[in-house]
């Protein structure tokens, strides 16, 4: 892989801009492992121990802002960001490398993987492996014809339930009310999820960190009324 010389500073986003929406259904040139056994996690987490495995997955991690936060909040647990766009995922990879160089011994618990999360989760993760999944500011795909591109639907929810352990949590956050309603409706209809109570949602230590998107332009934290949070438990 080509790498930014890392003696210097963090990578600059202007080199990594890319059209916002890739088609998640078309074939791509993804190299994916045939089986989770075939993944060499050492390449992602240099200090990984044999009994450690990825527990947190940020689906569609964008430029990785939240992934970095997650790494700081949970230094002993491994988090992965999944991102479909070539340049954007490459930005996150370079960003993590730079962070590791700038802060020796830190950020070894986060990594980014370029893949299509709608197709290849079972290729990377075993049944009940994940403890938390994050769907933060997913692409809304407003047009009805493009609803199929939405990262939440009945069939995908079954697949997420497969990689999540019982009691694991799914965090969803969006600033599009329509999409929020869609997510809640589908999650509540699915027999393997239940929504946390308001109280539980409020007191989760991760909640305050979910209020800003790492996508460009949406960096500004708006007032909370514009954000729609919903957290679900895998049952």
């Amino acid at each position: 892989m080509v790498q930014e010389p890392c003696s210097i500073s963090l990578p600059q986003k202007r080199y990594y801009r890319q059209r916002a929406h890739s088609n998640p259904i078309a074939d791509h040139c993804f190299d994916y492992p045939a089986h989770p056994d075939n993944v060499n996690w050492q390449e992602f987490y240099p200090n990984i121990t044999p009994d450690q495995h990825v527990e947190f997955a940020d689906i569609g991690c964008g430029y990785g802002g939240f992934l970095v936060t997650l790494g700081e909040m949970f230094p002993d647990r491994l988090a992965i960001g999944l991102e479909i766009r070539v340049k954007v995922s490459d930005y996150v990879m370079d960003r993590i490398k730079a962070l590791r160089t700038l802060h020796q011994g830190k950020y070894n618990n986060i990594a980014c993987l370029r893949t299509n999360a709608m197709k290849y989760l079972p290729n990377y993760f075993r049944k009940a492996q994940l403890d938390k999944m994050f769907f933060l500011y997913p692409d809304p795909h407003f047009k009805r014809a493009k609803h199929k591109w939405r990262i939440i639907n009945q069939a995908l929810l079954s697949e997420y339930a497969y990689v999540l352990r019982k009691g694991g949590l799914v965090y969803t956050m969006t600033d599009v009310e329509d999409l929020h309603n869609w997510i809640v409706q589908h999650m509540e209809k699915h027999p393997l999820y239940e929504r946390l109570t308001d109280e539980e949602e409020k007191t989760d230590p991760i909640t305050p960190k979910l209020y800003h998107s790492s996508e460009e332009g949406t960096k500004v934290v708006r007032n909370k009324g514009d954000h729609f949070l919903a957290i679900f438990r895998r049952i």
Binding site: Y15, C29, H35, V86, H147, N153
Partner: protein, 391 residues
């Protein structure tokens, strides 16, 4: 599409508009089904209503959307006659299910020894890819090109088809354990999935290892399945634990599979291969005293000049249907070394039945993954940018 299947005592052959049920020994025709021309007149409702409640259906790819727009427009102009996609007989032999394209529908026929009576016509969201009855014959599952699996109740025609689960690419085969507890499916994304039944929202597990489309599945015993794939392998799986047991190289990509018992703990498998002429490979499967299955290649059958599309065993004979010059042909092989009792004249009589039907072979090359590289270019540009900066 043609179908060739055996359901004791009948060999069933279907193509375009007609299904015939014949005695496999003398190829005498027991009965036949001719599809009605206009299914809408028989109460078929336009299929778009069916997909409405579930956006999952929306998983279909962009171009399909376009297609359906086009076909909706066409519908007003002229009604395309229905054409057979798939045919299955229920395990109790009392029902025959037929899916159609053109006018997309699921037809159920009640089978009597000398005739078949149409009992229901229900909408089909998209062209079917596999159809399978439940072991108790009460339910029909239909998977479609987008990976969705719908359940059709065979006892209550009024009940709406119900979406049970979805893959993210076309499903090529579906088998149901005899105890009804698991549905095993395989798809174009190299996956074999084991889904719980009736709790179909709950994925029991995957059997992963294939590296191309998985085209066919069959049970060897209650814990073991066999699969064939475009990656030129045949594999055996402990499917409840998602564990690969054995792998064997095939001479070419595998497209279809059929089995016959040759003794106690002994089976023979025929694999239809994606290559001209030498297109069927036979394997012997033996279960050892330690319950391990051993696979041995037996022989390759040559069928020069025929694009074989369907195969099935009937006792010691292997029947293969295919295309020569866009027309139906049937071949019968004895795989046990003795003479096949099926005479060439009888086969001609069957081929006559489909003489007027034109049948174009499916382009199987489209099953393989199309790889395109959207990374190298980007990395090359990045490298240059970095080099420039360093100057």
């Amino acid at each position: 599409m043609t179908t060739l299947l055996y359901s004791d005592p009948e060999l069933v052959i279907a193509l375009n508009k007609k299904v015939i049920f014949v005695n496999p020994n003398d190829l005498q025709i027991f009965k036949e089904i001719e599809l009605p021309e206009d299914l809408y007149a028989l109460g078929l409702k336009a299929s778009n209503n069916l997909t409405e409640p579930s956006e999952l259906a929306a998983e279909k790819s962009e171009e399909k959307c376009e297609q359906s727009k086009v076909s909706k427009k066409l519908k007003h102009v002229k009604i395309e006659p229905p054409s057979i996609l798939h045919v299955k007989l229920s395990p109790d032999n009392r029902l025959c299910a037929v899916t159609t394209s053109g006018q997309k529908a699921v037809l159920l026929y009640q089978c009597r020894p000398e005739q078949a009576k149409l009992v229901s016509v229900r909408p089909l969201a998209r062209a079917s890819s596999v159809i399978t009855f439940s072991p108790d014959s009460k339910v029909l599952l239909v998977t479609d090109k987008s990976g969705d699996c719908y359940k059709y109740d065979c006892e209550n025609d009024e009940e709406e088809p119900q979406l049970l689960f979805g893959h993210f690419s076309i499903v090529y085969d579906l088998v149901w354990t005899p105890d009804s507890k698991y549905i095993v499916t395989c798809d174009r994304d190299d996956k074999i999935r084991v889904t719980n039944y009736p709790a179909t929202h709950d994925i029991h597990g995957y059997c992963l290892g294939h590296q191309e489309f998985v085209s066919a599945l069959a049970f060897l015993d209650e814990d073991t399945i066999i699969s064939v794939s475009g990656d030129k392998t045949l594999r055996l799986w402990d499917f409840k634990n998602g564990r690969e047991l054995t792998m064997l190289e095939l001479p070419a990509p595998g497209l279809r599979l059929c089995l016959r018992a040759t003794g106690e703990n002994k089976l023979e498998a025929a694999v239809l291969l994606y290559q001209p002429d030498e297109c069927i490979a036979l394997y012997e499967l033996t279960k050892s005293d330690t319950s391990k299955w051993l696979v041995k290649e037996r022989q390759i059958l040559r069928i020069p000049g025929v694009i074989v599309n369907s195969i099935c065993f009937i006792n010691k004979n292997l029947y293969a249907s295919g295309i020569v010059d866009e027309h139906f042909t049937l071949r019968v092989f004895n795989v046990d070394g003795c003479e096949s009792k099926v005479s060439g004249d009888w086969i001609k009589v069957i081929e006559e039945q489909f003489k007027t039907e034109v049948w174009k072979p499916e382009d199987v090359s489209a099953w393989f993954k199309k790889r395109f590289d959207n990374v190298s270019d980007y990395l090359e540009r990045k490298k240059r940018r970095i080099e420039e900066k360093q100057k």
